[in-house]
Symmetry: C3
């Protein structure tokens, strides 16, 4: 396994040098900076930052033998993505805006937010392939996906001119279906039976995962509202998201115990489906959907997402061998489609009588001096954005998945397992599922480890003994 690790390192090193050169040529600070440029955005940005690095990072630690990779690779691929995104998405925006110097990038606090959004997209994709891809493959995915992401964002914002304040389409739908397409391209028959004993949690890994869940849950209003800046629309975004999440949490708990054969709650649902309300309300978070609307949306999202985990995910695995480690389809994919439809409906009924001048801030194409779109016209574009994003993400993911399938693929016994890629504490094997009798009490740690492994334990070798 020496080659792959070095390969990832060399790729990272070369790409980092390229980034330094690009930044030296093209990137500088934006100025002037007003006091409110920071107070309006920075505290809310930091909430989003926590969602990306603690939220996603710990949410993915639920695999009991893959915690180092989960939180470590989360940090690494985000670090690569944010540096790459800050320059690339700015270039694309400059080009779309026909800026005088399309190659020049001026950084402000807002760029930190959009870079984090891009990282979040890549991390959703990471969730679909968690435990089944090498570090080298993940870095390639991050670099390539950022290009597709940037292009799709540009299409939606600058050409389709749709609203998607919480990034339900741009971030969640794109990241999820891109990830599912990569996972499909990398599909393996060995995953189909779902009996890999390492693909499981234990009590501690589940609680680490809940740290991620709760931070994502709490700060999701910030995610959906951060780009608006303070004012009436941001207030609406915060309130809609807060209510949607609360309602979603309740319905996820309700459905979780109802669908369980033993009528017990399932941590997978609690860790994930409770968050679907944040995705589902996202594209319409700043729209006038009313508090009861947000509550209804959240309630339905919790139901859809939990049913997705319970029924759709196993069905996709059995029927088309689509293995989705974190179930990103249920947390991000389906709720994002719901959100796209919601934004379509909300756009179809939006009038100046309700929104005032905000109407044109939300949908600039409705300006008479602009594209002069009607509300049904705008709704059509909103729906088109769903279709475009699905197409871009699936095609982009299939291409990317094909590329990385040619690179170093971890072998079956390396899946969901840190051991071949991280220095793992040697004695930890004893801490889990030790099975030794008194007679062997004289053996040293190495022997004990062998004994342990030979008789099984938490690693589940018993299944095959």
């Amino acid at each position: 396994m020496k080659l792959p690790a070095i390969s990832a390192s060399i790729l990272l090193l070369v790409f980092q040098v390229i980034l330094i050169v690009i930044y030296a040529v093209a990137v500088d600070y934006s100025k002037p900076v007003a006091s409110t440029d920071i107070t309006n955005f920075y505290p809310v940005f930091q909430d989003v930052n926590v969602m990306i690095f603690i939220g996603f990072g710990f949410l993915m630690t639920f695999l009991k033998k893959y915690g180092y990779s989960a939180v470590g690779y989360n940090l690494l691929i985000s670090a690569v993505t944010i540096q790459w995104s800050m320059v690339l998405t700015s270039w694309l925006a400059n080009a779309a805006n026909k800026a005088d110097s399309p190659g020049k990038v001026k950084l402000s606090v807002t760029n930190l937010i959009t870079a984090d959004f891009n990282a979040g997209t890549v991390l959703i994709t990471f969730g679909a392939v968690l435990g089944k891809t090498s570090r080298f493959q993940l870095v390639v995915i991050a670099i390539v996906e950022t290009v597709f992401y940037g292009v799709n964002e540009m299409l939606l914002v600058h050409y389709l001119k749709v609203t998607d304040i919480g990034g339900s389409m741009i971030i969640h739908m794109f990241g999820a279906y891109f990830g599912l397409a990569v996972a499909f391209a990398l599909r393996k028959d060995e995953l189909r039976d779902g009996e890999n004993a390492k693909e499981a949690s234990n009590v501690n890994s589940d609680l680490f995962s809940m740290i991620g869940t709760v931070f994502l849950w709490m700060y999701w209003p910030s995610f959906n509202g951060v780009l608006l800046g303070p004012g009436l629309m941001q207030s609406r975004a915060f309130i809609n998201t807060y209510i949607s999440l609360a309602a979603c949490c309740v319905s996820a708990f309700v459905v979780s115990s109802m669908v369980d054969p033993n009528r017990k709650l399932n941590m997978v649902h609690v860790q994930n489906a409770t968050l679907a309300g944040g995705v589902a309300v996202g594209a319409a978070a700043n729209l006038i959907i009313h508090p009861w609307g947000a509550m209804l949306v959240g309630s339905l999202a919790g139901i859809i997402s939990t049913l997705g985990y319970q029924y759709i995910q196993p069905f996709l695995l059995r029927s088309i061998n689509l293995h989705d480690t974190c179930g990103v389809h249920n947390l991000h994919g389906l709720p994002a489609i719901f959100s796209g439809i919601l934004a379509t409906i909300a756009s179809a009924v939006a009038d100046e009588s309700d929104y005032g001048a905000d109407l044109y801030a939300i949908w600039p194409a409705r300006l008479k001096t602009g594209d002069n779109r009607s509300k049904s016209n705008q709704a059509g574009y909103q729906f088109l954005a769903v279709v475009v994003t699905l197409a871009m993400s699936i095609v982009g993911g299939l291409i990317t998945g094909f590329i990385v399938s040619l690179l170093d693929n971890p072998s079956e016994d390396q899946w969901f397992d840190d051991e071949d890629f991280w220095e793992v504490p040697a004695l930890d094997f004893e801490a889990k599922g030790v099975v030794v009798n008194h007679a062997s009490s004289h053996v040293g740690p190495m022997e004990m480890r062998i004994t342990t492994t030979s008789v099984g334990g938490e690693t589940g070798n018993n299944n095959r003994a």
Copy 2:
């Protein structure tokens, strides 16, 4: 155990539908919203939000076999409470203010804060009955307690017109004594000996709990000051709380090792008593108690709380069979009484010469054009608020406890144990206290599990073997 889970689900489902209907009829967004309405409140609100969901949620994970329930139910009952509270407490405030449309609710960021406060109160109550109540009972408690909470808050704010900026009476005292009353109503002889082996922590559960402690500790200044908005009084509230907590932390450590028979520190004290300074200074956080006063208050709170854990809690268990799982009496109850007395004293000496115009913002009843109360008069009302809150919480708690005692009670072997209510990783039993000899190395996981249970291990069955 199938029926109870479904019962909780049906109740949650019905209540969620009721909420959607209520919101459709009565709730909308507040407008207009100024930029400062958000920048002044939202970042500090998010600190409070972290306290409610991470702080309380992880603080309660200290029970080694009850972590899923601790953090999961914390999320669930908060999600129910905040939706219910946003409409109910607004109705009560509208009624007290004789609003034109008492049934109409206009939501702003401030409502998110007060909803979180209500959730915090219910979570303190949860702490008293942690591990001994079913999900169904907890949801009933949350719904009913919110009514009593709202009424008590209205009495204190609108009728007694007292100051309690950090909610020491409204939140901590109320939540603690309500919870103790519920626990008393549900008391069981089997808890009296304190020898339930599952009612214990392990190293990991203690560290998860410390995540909760430290977030509560850090953000407590935000809790005590958030409603003030930026200015001199908020600055005072932040500084007083910060100093009180630091002093409390020191005295909790000092007393913890002094009262221990082995002169060792006790994690129960570190997890909880270090926070008592935030409660104790709460009702007077914005008052001119001077930094040394805050320091003295914090120091005493740490002493009181630690002594409470060490001596008063076991005494109440032995003498009146009052079992308080998290010791909320020591962290919230006693320090809140201290805080009520502190606010009484500070009110008794408050003059316009010290406070300027802030005097009437803090105590509007002292306005000559208002109730024209004297300072000793106001002090009397402050003390009355302690008495009223104690009465409301204890009576409300006893009534609620009686109601839920008629519902499904978990059996003794279900106490402090996730297993009958959550899908728990099967192999985890092996990871904890595995006791198997070589000869049995051929058995599969299920057999091992049975073996494990039969011979004891971390579950403590050895005690009874």
Copy 3:
């Protein structure tokens, strides 16, 4: 072990009483307070607060048997330090500024920030001696180090008049070399072989540690920028730090796997070296080093820090018996020297043409009406600040280390082990490395514990059996 615990308690108690007296005599609230005094500083302060208490606290929980002490003592010594610092550093600043009432202290939100910085410095020192010092020794170190820290800060800010916005010299360099000097003064031959089996992590302790890492990593821009207040310079500090950390993260991962004999990643590097970019950019975070400069600095810092962990730290242990538990030399010491040199270079090329009026806010000594320093002159002072800080911290650390070496030293078998200082859950030994056969299933917990210990397990006693 009864005496030491009481000694620490008595010292803490006496010092707390002294603090209350000092505060009663000398400390009050600052006023008036403008709304922006809070909104400009408080949210960013809370980020720093999380870094100090969650960041440092959990980063140090990586030792598998020392988690209670790591996060508990982190809280305790910070609580002592912040109370002591708020008054002491204000006195020193008053004296340097020739204030009318040098003994009077007026507290505002800014004091909470600088108190946290002081605590951070003491915690870096704590990292160097983690697991090898008693609570009594740690409290003495905190109290004494705060004095040396305050004097050094005063020298740099008021006499050398250097810029160090992120505290790379004042906080990181000082804390690291002070800690290394204390560690050197307390050196023990038994640590030299690095074979103490308790000085190790396990999977859970490593993940707890990552909570600290990620919070430090996310909020480091706040650390480096908080004191500036919102505006162009703060924006630059945020952006430079964000980029430097991202680049540092990448290079730390690259080097980590390259230097590993098995080409695997090492959690020690991921937990620590990924953060070196925050330190390295610190002293120049608000300077015009350009985004590519920040990226280069971060990349180099990740390399330096990882190489430090891999090669320099073992070399220092072997050659001069300098045992640095957390490797603070690699995370704080070396990157801080790099940062000092970086600030020297940036000062040497700083002109009004680039900085405008900010030049004199950053370097007041360059004012013609002030010290009228040239840029090379200022650069000389910047370099002198490195030398002074190194001298102050090493001398102060040696003196402090000598003092505490006379106090109660934990014995070798107490190192890296909570057990003699905390009430540790009895049954936890069974949860880790249980080695018992069926025949012994009748034994109670105490016997099992003895059995466990006698045959070894995670505690590593096997090494010596």
